[in-house]
Symmetry: C2
Subunit: 418 residues, 2 copies
């Protein structure tokens, strides 16, 4: 069986001048992978007629499925629709169901008068199949040419996702016969990529040609991903599970979880299993740990609340860190995070607490306490543990590293206490 390849073309000057980070492509690639489609290429081009045209020509040489996002908005910088009409040799016509839908949105939801520009969104090339967009005014469009499909989607993420999920992904298996792609991912913490590689030489060498191993380092953690491609789903899964088990055994000491989920969700699952709750007392992370924990549905089962004590006065007045501690050893100290952790545990009446205090930069460092120095405290009702970290470099990275290491320290604390 031949692999079926897809290409993703993203249109918009904002991507080329770096004003917007492209998150659509990652989501699209994940979803295509699940149905056995291999994304071979992703390309971003500006709002330039010749460049878009050329991208369509080039990508259709490499792939059978060409997904195009962006360039469908109501404003004048968008040229995608007339270009597609031209490229596939059609003429523009009004698509009545889309016009009704756009009218409905303006009359009943936005409750604003519809203007000419909005009505224009219901015009489509007569050579496309319209993919209705329940989430917005710009419809998706499907074109077929020489056994390949071209799909044009709006760039607004939730609109694109809705059309993909409801129209495009169900359609692909009806047109193309694909093999199976399966992934297994595990998350490690506390070990660098190269040492991990040494540790799993035997397991890596034992992999057959159709199973690939990838190392994905990210903020103090490394993900290992096995990807297998084949025709017999059952055989593939058995084989993949075997190699994944071997890999898990080899990295057991550093294994956080054997799923492709973020660390905060792994910690959340652990808390939920135990019926336990957590609170945070955050200084330098400014609420980022709480945000990570609450960015997942169902987090109210284990996350109770936080005190963010960015100002030292709040550490003292709300979290009862002693004036003496703050005056002698300072806010970035073992004693401070111990007191913060114990206080927030008591204020929030939770089973566990995380406390962090540090210097994220770029300013505020001293010779004694340089940028990147962080103290983390973890408490339950019986004890408090602390750990000092020394990160380097930029603020965003320091905040990420602090949050991940604090969450991983809580995880170890819970597991060791079990």
């Amino acid at each position: 069986m031949e692999k079926v390849f897809a290409s993703i073309i993203t249109i918009g000057d904002e991507l080329l001048i770096g004003q917007v980070v492209d998150t659509n492509s990652a989501w699209m690639a994940q979803e295509l992978n699940k149905i056995g489609i291999t994304v071979k290429h992703r390309v971003a081009v500006g709002d330039v007629w010749e460049d878009i045209w050329q991208a369509l020509d080039e990508e259709s040489k490499q792939a059978s499925i060409i997904l195009i996002t962006g360039g469908l908005g109501p404003t004048a910088d968008d040229i995608t629709k007339p270009l597609l009409c031209n490229y596939f040799g059609g003429k523009m016509i009004v698509h009545q169901p889309t016009l009704d839908h756009v009218t409905h949105i303006f009359e009943n939801i936005l409750k604003r008068p519809m203007i000419e520009r909005n009505a224009k969104q219901a015009e489509v090339p007569d050579v496309c199949t319209v993919l209705m967009n329940e989430r917005g005014t710009a419809p998706g469009m499907l074109f077929k040419k020489e056994g390949k499909i071209f799909v044009s989607l709006p760039g607004v993420p939730h609109e694109m996702k809705w059309i993909m999920s409801n129209h495009v992904l169900p359609l692909i298996p009806q047109i193309f016969t694909t093999g199976f792609i399966e992934h297994r991912t595990l998350l490690t913490a506390g070990i660098g990529e190269s040492f991990l590689a040494e540790m799993i030489i035997k397991e890596e060498t034992a992999l057959p040609a159709h199973i690939k191993l990838a190392y994905l380092p990210n903020y103090g953690m490394v993900r290992l991903r096995l990807t297998a491609f084949g025709e017999d789903k059952n055989k593939l899964e058995t084989e993949l599970n075997h190699h994944f088990d071997q890999l898990k055994k080899a990295v057991a000491v550093y294994l956080v979880i054997d799923e492709d989920i973020p660390l905060e969700l792994a910690v959340g699952k652990l808390l939920k299993e135990k019926g336990c709750t957590v609170a945070t007392a955050e200084s330098c992370t400014g609420g980022y740990i709480a945000h990570l924990l609450t960015s997942h549905a169902g987090s109210s089962a284990y996350f109770t609340g936080s005190v963010i004590s960015y100002d030292n006065a709040i550490k003292e007045r709300v979290l009862h860190v002693s004036k003496q501690t703050l005056e002698t050893v300072g806010a970035v100290s073992e004693s401070t995070v111990q007191q913060m952790a114990k206080s927030v545990l008591s204020i929030m009446q939770t089973d566990y607490a995380i406390a962090v205090s540090g210097i994220m930069g770029p300013d505020g460092g001293t010779a004694e306490k340089p940028v990147g120095m962080v103290w983390v405290g973890i408490a339950d009702k019986n004890r408090v543990i602390t750990k000092q970290f020394n990160f380097r470099f930029d603020r965003r990275r320091n905040i990420e590293l602090t949050a991940n290491n604090a969450l991983n320290l809580l995880r170890s604390f819970i597991v060791d206490n079990a």
Copy 2:
């Protein structure tokens, strides 16, 4: 003067299966733009020999500067370096300064024994100029071919940024003569893209051919960007400033700020100018507003702290929301956010407070209070204002929209009170 074009090639299977979102390209594009280089194309390919080779061939047809990120790690899935060696017809040699640097990192910073794999990172093709990487072990490499330059950089963001800033960006103006690219960006809130477009028809029509207008909608806000290209920097700036002023006047009612900065930083600047402070009481956003405010250096000048009351017990016990309110009108109500805002203002002793409570989904909605329903309260010592929002769709989007709208409501509150 001819435009100088760049292409960015991103290497790694993790980008094609959607496991990682590419943030490097956006940063690179921004920096290239500042020195007058136009990014024409961005392409992502997997760890596949032929695909990388072909991308090098293709991109060098379109651009004079080809930047390549990723594929330089110490592990076995990385094939970029041998490929480049082959592509440019060199042989691998040990680069002594890099070997010394890698050895230094292991001996003095990581304090771990160096293994063969790490030493390998000091091997480079003899046909490249090595760009030392002070931030990590994988060096950057510069190749020249037929008047074009090819630069290979590690994919780790802070390493890539360091090499770009210290080697690549200073070098480009020495090799290429570029025109000037200038951007002006303003941020609006509270008006949709199509209505904004109607509002500025006159200003848009008046733009000369070398100044382009783009609409960049994002979570309830729209950025407008003017981009001008030319040879005479002074003339270009005068012209661009004139058109930007016209645009600002036309959208004045909805204008948040006339800079390309995020909303939370615009709010931060406003607070700092007035010498005022803010605190947040967050339920449904779980610390995200505090995180946004504190993600910028210098935020301690205006951000004091937060109480995150995810659990209703915390709303009652810590934020003193009355039991009666919670039992009768519930946690997602005008009265609750009024009390939360007043309490946190008093606890944190700030000039302003933001309070939010809502249902972010996917679960927890009812007929009366559906997913996406949010109450926001803003308080100072004299008054509290509230506003109800009804967002739709997914959790992440609802959290983003809530945070942006709450920050914008605070901004209006401060401006109106001035």
